[in-house]
Each structure stands twice: as structure tokens, then as C-alpha cells.
């Protein structure tokens, strides 16, 4: 088993772990119980998804998916932020 094969398996393993992490997040998303739990779940889901995309880039050997991850990293928080503000203030833009 050469190093590349190890890397390949490692990445698949990592992706499975990340996917499981997404499952955990989605549990909160679905089960709640409160709105804040769901929002937290969504935020986690976003981060996990971003990491999954990065690992996917390694797996494919292409940087073309980097910007997708970058967009999640930079802007993914906006929707959760809006949700949080909505909970606190009842409206997103005052």
C-alpha cells in the first residue's frame, strides 16, 4: 500500500467523518428543540460542508472548488447571522 493509496483512503475516511459530522448537525437541525438549536445546527452544517469541499478538492486534485469553500467561509455566516438577529430583534434589518 503506497502513500498515495493511504492518502486516498485517509481522505475517504475524513470525508466519512465529516459527513457523519454533518449528520450530527442535521440532527440538531431536525430535532431542535429550539430555534437556536436549529440555527446552531445550520451553522455547523455550513462549516462541515465547507471542510468537506476542501477535502473534496484534495481528493480530485483540483483547486477549482476552492472558491465554493471560500464563499462558504466568507459569506456562509450571513444567513445564520440573519436568523440569530431575527430571533433577538424580530427583524433582520431595523
Amino acid at each position: 500500500m503506497n502513500a498515495l493509496a493511504i492518502l486516498s483512503w485517509a481522505i475517504i475516511g475524513a470525508q466519512i467523518m465529516l459527513a457523519l459530522a454533518m449528520c450530527c448537525a442535521v440532527y440538531r437541525l431536525v430535532a431542535g428543540p429550539r430555534a437556536q438549536d436549529r440555527i446552531l445546527g445550520l451553522d455547523t452544517l455550513y462549516v462541515n460542508a465547507m471542510l468537506l469541499l476542501v477535502t473534496f478538492g484534495i481528493r480530485i486534485g483540483s483547486t477549482l472548488f476552492f472558491e465554493a469553500a471560500l464563499v462558504i467561509g466568507l459569506l456562509g455566516f450571513v444567513s445564520t447571522l440573519a436568523l440569530a438577529k431575527f430571533l433577538m430583534r424580530g427583524e433582520v434589518i431595523e
Binding site: 480530485i60 486534485g61 483540483s62 477549482l64 472548488f65
Partner: protein, 115 residues
């Protein structure tokens, strides 16, 4: 196998979307329309078949082998569809708000079920 998962994914999105589309509350309908738009976007995308690791971005411009790239056309179509469905979601949302304000109900018919 991936094809089956992909197909089932579209099926689930469609079923959820259709279910919501047929509900009486405007908000349910807008969520349903969004889910349906995911389903439809994936559907269009799937019409170019599934290719892993072949994004249609030319790396070597000297000799171009079309077989190396995923079908770019459905992707372009999906992009257009995404934009349009975003616009329509916005419009539907505002109309449902206006309807709620004017009719006093969030029933899709603008009046609570009489029957």
C-alpha cells in the same frame, strides 16, 4: 449507485416540494417552491449526466478533448434557472405578504376555507 442516490434525492426533494405546494398556507407554498426548485435544478443538471472530477474549465488549451469535461450546457441552464427562481421566490414572497396584509389570512385563497 451514485445515479440511484442522485435520482432518489431528486425524488425526495420533489415529493417534499409537491406536498408543500399543495398545502393551504402561503408560507408552506413558498418553501415548497424552493424545494421544487432544488429538485428541478438537480434534474436539469442530471441531464448532462454525472461526472466526477471533470469540471468544464479548460486547463490545457492546446489540445481539447471534450470527453474530459462534464457537459457544460446543463450547468449553464441551471445557472439561469437558479437566478430566475430566486427572482420568482422574491416576488412570490412579497405577494404573499401583500395578500396577508390585505386579506388578514395566510391562506392561499386569501380567505379561510369555507367548505
Amino acid at each position: 449507485m451514485m445515479e440511484l442516490i442522485f435520482a432518489l434525492a431528486i425524488g425526495i426533494l420533489t415529493a417534499s416540494g409537491v406536498w408543500l405546494l399543495l398545502r393551504p398556507r402561503t408560507f408552506q407554498v413558498i418553501i415548497g417552491l424552493s424545494l421544487l426548485s432544488y429538485a428541478v435544478n438537480l434534474f436539469i443538471f442530471g441531464m448532462g449526466r454525472l461526472r466526477i472530477g471533470a469540471p468544464p474549465v479548460l486547463e490545457n488549451t492546446e489540445s481539447i478533448d471534450p470527453a474530459l469535461y462534464a457537459d457544460p450546457l446543463p450547468q449553464a441552464l441551471v445557472l439561469t434557472a437558479i437566478v430566475i427562481s430566486f427572482a420568482m421566490t422574491a416576488l412570490f414572497l412579497v405577494v404573499l405578504l401583500a395578500s396577508r396584509g390585505l386579506t388578514g389570512t395566510d391562506h392561499v385563497d386569501g380567505r379561510e376555507d369555507a367548505q
